[in-house]
Symmetry: C2
Subunit: 268 residues, 2 copies
C-alpha cells in the first residue's frame, strides 16, 4: 500500500479527459495534474523538444513525490514514453500503449484507423504499437490538425466540422476500417460527426478511458494503491495562465476547480 | 550611416511575410530573423508569457548587435511593443501600429474590420490603436483561429475555407466594413476567399507590407541605413527544428535558405 500521489501531465487542458477517468476509477487516490500551457501544443514541435518538455514535466511531478506518472498527452506519450522509462525509475504509463491494445481487441477485420495531431501521426507511434501487438493489422494513420481548433471553437456539430472530417477520412473509408483510435484528447467530442462520416458501426477507441483502466490494473498488481478512504482535492499546476485553466478546465471536468498554481517549468 | 543588422522576430514562420517585404525594400541591409518555433503559437498564451518570450527574443537579437528590431508577430506586437519600448533602448517597430495607420488612411466609411488570432483580437491592440488615430472609426474585431491551420494545410481555396470565413465574417458584413486588416501573418494567403465573402470592393490591409514601408521611413529619417552596397545572406535562427524551418521557410520565401541555426532561448 502506498499513499503517495499519482502524477498526470499533458501539454495543456486536453489531458483532463484522462484525469476525469482517473478520478472515477481512483476515488481515494491523491491526484496531481500538470498542464504545460506555456508551451502548448506539443503536436507541432520536434521530437527533441517534446522529450525535453516531457522530462521537465516528469521532474516537476517527481518533486511532488508521485508514485507513478501517466502521460495524458498523445504526442508526449508517442515520443517520450520510451526515453522516459529509460531515464526515470518509476512506473510510467502513456495513452498510446493503452489505446493501441484496446483497438486490437475491438477490430473484426484487422483494419484500424488512427487520427491525431501531425506530431502524433508522424511519430508513427500508434501505428508501430498496433503492429507490434498484431503484426497482421492494417493501420491507416491520418493527421487531423483542424479538429482541435474546431472543438475549441465549439463547432463540433457544424457543416465545417462535417466537411473537414470528410476530407480527412477519405482514406479510412476507402480502406473500410472498422475501428478508429481517437489519438488526441479533443477528438471524443467529435464522435457524432465521425460516426456520421464513417458509419454508425465503426468502433471508436478513447485512449483516455483505456489508460485509466490500465492504470488501475497496474497499481493493483504492484500493490501501489492507497489504503486511505479519504476523498482528496486534485492538485492542479500549470506553466501559464492559472485562471484561464481554472475556468476552462472546470467546464471540461464539470466541477468547480478551487485553485490552480502557476509554476516555472523552464530550467527544470 | 549604420552598418549593424536589422533584427526581426516572430513566434515562428509567419513573420517571413514581413521579412520578404524587408528584403525587397532593404536589399543592402543585413537582416537577422529569429523564429521562436519551440513555443509557437503566441496567440493562445497569456499576456505575461508573451511579454516574457518577446523580451527573450529581443535579448537574443541584441546579442547579435542589431540597430533596430521589428516585431513581425501580431500577438507579440499587440502585447509586448509598449513594454519593450520601456525596457530596451533602441527603435522597435511592430506590425500593429503600421497596419492600423494604413487602415485609417484607406477607409471611406470609417468602418474597419480586424481579424486575427484570439490573442491579437482579445488584446484589443488593433482596435485601440485605430481608435487612437481616428476616434470616430467604428472597429469590428473578430478572432479567426481556424484560419492558420487552414492555410498550413493548404486548404485556402476549399469549401471548408469559404464556409469558415462566412461564419467568422457575419458581423463584418452586417456592419458593412469597407476595410479589413489581416492581423495575422497567414491571412494574406486567404485574400481571394475573403474577397469572395466580403465583396470585391473591400480593401485588405497587409500589415507586413505596411511595416516594411514604415521601417524604411524610420531608418531614413534617423540616418540608420547602411552605406554598404553588398547583398547579404539573411541569417536565420530558431528555437526548435532548424531543418523543418529551412524547408517550409524556403517555400514561403520562394528562395533557397542555406542554413538555419537552432539556439537555446529559455533562460535568456
Amino acid at each position: 500500500m502506498d499513499n503517495r500521489p499519482i502524477g498526470i501531465f499533458d501539454s495543456g487542458i486536453g489531458g483532463l479527459t484522462v484525469l476525469k477517468e482517473l478520478m472515477e476509477q481512483f476515488p481515494n487516490e491523491k491526484l496531481i495534474y500538470f498542464g504545460d500551457t506555456a508551451r502548448i501544443p506539443y503536436g507541432t514541435k520536434s521530437k527533441e523538444a517534446v522529450i525535453k518538455y516531457s522530462f521537465q514535466c516528469i521532474r516537476f511531478l517527481l518533486s511532488k513525490n508521485v508514485k507513478t506518472i501517466i502521460i495524458a498527452c498523445n504526442t508526449a506519450s508517442a515520443v517520450a514514453l520510451e526515453p522516459a522509462l529509460k531515464e526515470f525509475d518509476l512506473p510510467i504509463l502513456g495513452v498510446v500503449k493503452s489505446g493501441s491494445k484496446a483497438a486490437v481487441k475491438e477490430t473484426q477485420n484487422d483494419k484500424i484507423g488512427v487520427i491525431g495531431t501531425t506530431g502524433t501521426i508522424n511519430s508513427y507511434a500508434y501505428q508501430r504499437e498496433i503492429r507490434t501487438i498484431s503484426p497482421s493489422a492494417e493501420v491507416i494513420g491520418q493527421a487531423c490538425p483542424l479538429f482541435v481548433q474546431i472543438v475549441e471553437d465549439g463547432w463540433e456539430d457544424t457543416e465545417v466540422a462535417k466537411l473537414t472530417a470528410e476530407k480527412y477520412l477519405i482514406d479510412m473509408k476507402e480502406h473500410d476500417v472498422d475501428t478508429l483510435v481517437l489519438g488526441c484528447t479533443h477528438y471524443p467530442i467529435l464522435r457524432y460527426t465521425l460516426k456520421k462520416v464513417l458509419g454508425e458501426e465503426v468502433k471508436l477507441i478513447n485512449p483516455a478511458y483505456e489508460t485509466a483502466k490500465e492504470s488501475l490494473e497496474l497499481l493493483t498488481e504492484r500493490k501501489l494503491l492507497t489504503e486511505s478512504s479519504d476523498i482528496h482535492e486534485v492538485e492542479f499546476y500549470v506553466s501559464d495562465d492559472a485562471e484561464k485553466f481554472r475556468r476552462i478546465g472546470g467546464n471540461m471536468l464539470n466541477r468547480n476547480i478551487k485553485s490552480v498554481k502557476k509554476i516555472e517549468i523552464e530550467g527544470l
